[in-house]
Amino acid sequence: MTKRHALIILYAVIVAVILGVLAGWFMGPFALKFSWMGTLFLNALKMVVVPLIIAAIISGISSLGDIRKLGKPGSATLIYFMATMMISATVGMILTEILNPGQDFHLTSATAEVNINQSVSMGDVLLSLISPNIVASATNFEILPLIVFSMIFGAALTVVGEKGRLVTDFFESLNNIMMVIVGWVMFLSPFGVFALVSTPIAEAGGGDAVIATFNAVGSYMGTVFVGLIIQSMLLFMLLYLLSGRGLAYLRNMIPALITAMSTSSSSATVPLSMDCAKNSGLAREPIRLVIPLGSTVNMNGTALYQGVATIFLAQVYNIDIGFGDHFLIALTAAMAAIGSAGIPQGGHVMTLMLFSVVGIPAEGFGLILAVDWILDRARTTLNVWGDLVGAALIDRLMYGKNKGFDA
């Protein structure tokens, strides 16, 4: 994809968001006629994900040459994920304590059914990392076991060395092919984004209905939004101070961020994130390793959301949260984000688990579920932004000795 194409798509996607909101807001049912374009775009994105992630990680690791070289960038990546998620949850909690949105909340309004009664143990989380049948995992779109397997496979390739040349070359070239296909999917993005933005608004019943829902839990939603904005600015500062990249990097990432916002799926966004990162001139290792891994385990937005939701509901139910509990919540939220990757509907299960730590009744979850579709989109955007900042940091700290600034 040329620079000019990338620029055209950037503007087209921004226009698509605006048109999508307008169409969903004012035209209602008519906008639903275009929902198939969203499905098409989402399917096309997902079509690329499984082969791309496998090829990217295997070729990324095998190109390190020696698996021991993974140690430093690998641990730096994990530390970055863990630290930013804990900061994120803390930002959410502090903000909620200050704004106090749960103070005058009326319990009766806007509750939705809660029908999740799974419980998850640490053992389940660890078990979900290793798949007994990797093809079955690929079939069922279980990304985390695929990543783990690809890492093991890549590590084995580096040990085999010259004798594995053929396989290394194969995955390197598979990665190139999938990236060519991603370039084509990019051209669908304006249409897909338009439909994905307009459909849920229209389904909710158009603009008036959306406003009505917002009014019910508006203070809570406002808190989440403010938190997300604060955290993305913190990440931006981190990006600017540590990697020397700035607004130009952010601008290059807009197609990926908007796709995250409209699909509310970080794994479906991986192909576009990788493409955008490539256009920004990141080295291959951070692109191929940090972004896929980040998409499943690094969830800044989700951690922040859980922080806000927990404190908000504690305020609603008049539960006292001590100083130590805050730390516990931050840690649990960060761990939960990592753990939820391998579990279906993981986000909800983990949020419930967090509530039970503090002693919030499960019905409380119903309160906030009604507006979850829009918050989900917002927090996915932050999740992806966190991955992209992480990729830039690792690129700068570990690989990019000479190229810190946007070309």
Partner: protein, 414 residues
């Protein structure tokens, strides 16, 4: 003895097995059910190879074309021919049924009404062509989705050029491997065909056909006409190739199609026949045939045309010229849409009867009437479908200059 067996041409061995199957099946009757498993083993072997075969041969075929332009030109010709031959097939079916009038005075209330579940709407089916997970599409054997992904993947390899060399090499050698496996499986064919045919002849008996002789005769006549006039004509008149040679070359595929009554199960054989006997380059064969196996249904179109008119006649509905045109148009278009649905012909039939204004209950009666002897007719339909795929493939290959005429004229070497 063993040596002699392997020296005999495969199609002769299959033909002998088929005739033996009919004789043995008729003699031992229901007991033939006991050897059906041999046939099932054969079908399973073929099905085992279908998905990898389509994927790797299509990818390597697309890469071999060298440019997306070539792919587009092949694609347009293929679609035009598939639609064209299907339209001719349904016209033949309608025409014959209108002349022979198999439905006059026939009471079709005898069978148990069979209700069909509604097929997926067209939009959703079209959406499903894009797999949201290619691995899942392969695992579920979703042929159209596999074709779509293989096309995209092949073009991706083409455009990534040097950087994609290793993957292209793997696909090429994998394509060779699966074709070799297909040849191995074909050695089992005579036994499989024998068992399948014996089971049909034994359990259904030739008598099943007698109940509906006029209808069946009309359909068979239509199929013969279509194969000789349309397919033969396309080969002989349009392409200027020897038609007899063509039919001799493809008899393996026809026999397997006849005994398995599944064009997708026959596909490995169809591709092998196209490449080895007809001398068609793999880039054309591997892209045209899998598509044809899912969307090209000449035999089915004839069947639907005849049954539609038959139904109208037995319910005493008067069909006008416009109605015939409508039936032809619906069938041609719907034959693409019903592609991935199992027992597609029934859905196609239900759709067409619906267009004619026949109620769901009446449709159920018709289907119930037809089902008991659907199998022998299905065998004939499938043979015509596969013949159509090969005829179209030959035409496209000839126009693209991707056929080895010497190989076409040589005796089959399988």
């Amino acid at each position: 003895m063993l040596r002699k067996w392997f020296e005999t041409k495969l199609w002769k061995r299959i033909l002998i097995a088929l005739i033996l199957g009919v004789i043995v099946g008729t003699l031992i009757g229901d007991a033939a059910e006991n050897i059906k498993w041999i046939g099932d083993v054969f079908i399973k072997l073929i099905r085992m190879i279908v998905v990898p075969l389509i994927f790797v041969t299509l990818v390597s075929g697309v890469v071999a074309m060298g440019s997306p332009k070539k792919l587009g030109s092949i694609g347009i010709k293929t679609m035009a021919l598939y639609l064209g031959t299907t339209a001719i097939a349904i016209t033949i079916g309608l025409f014959l049924a209108a002349i022979i009038q198999p439905g006059n005075g026939v009471s079709i209330t005898g069978g148990d009404p069979q209700h069909l579940e509604a097929a997926m709407p067209l939009g959703e089916r079209m959406m499903n062509i894009i797999p949201s997970n290619p691995v899942a599409a392969l695992a579920e054997g979703d042929i159209l989705a596999v074709i779509f992904f293989a096309l995209i993947f092949g073009i991706g390899i083409m455009l990534a050029e040097e950087k994609a060399k290793p993957v292209a090499a793997v696909m090429d050698s994998a394509a060779e491997v699966v074709l070799k496996i297909t040849h191995l499986i074909m050695e089992v064919a005579p036994f499989g065909v024998f068992a399948l045919i014996a089971a049909v002849a034994g359990t259904k008996g030739a008598s099943a056909l007698l109940d509906v002789l006029p209808l069946a005769a009309t359909i068979i006549a239509g199929c013969l006409l279509h194969v000789i006039l349309t397919h033969g004509g396309l080969i002989r008149v349009v392409l200027g190739l020897p038609a007899i040679r063509f039919f001799k070359d493809i008899i393996d595929a026809q026999l397997v199609a006849f005994s398995t009554s599944s064009s997708s199960a026959t596909m490995p054989v169809t591709i092998a026949v196209a490449e080895d006997n007809l001398g068609i380059k793999s880039s054309v064969a591997s892209s045209v045939i899998p598509l044809g196996a899912t969307i090209n249904m000449d035999g089915t179109a004839i069947y639907v045309g005849v049954v539609a008119v038959f139904t109208a006649q037995s319910f005493g509905i008067d069909l006008q010229l416009g109605d015939y045109a409508l039936i032809a148009l619906t069938t041609t278009i719907a034959s693409i849409g019903t592609a991935a649905v199992p027992s597609a012909s029934l859905f196609l039939l239900a759709g067409v009867l619906g267009v004619m204004g026949i109620s769901a209950d009446q449709t159920a009666i018709v289907v119930g009437f037809l089902l008991p002897f659907d199998r022998p007719l299905d065998m004939i339909r499938t043979t015509v479908n596969v013949t159509g795929d090969l005829a179209v493939c030959t035409a496209v290959a000839t126009w693209e200059g991707e056929i080895d005429r010497a190989e076409f004229r040589r005796d089959p070497n399988v």
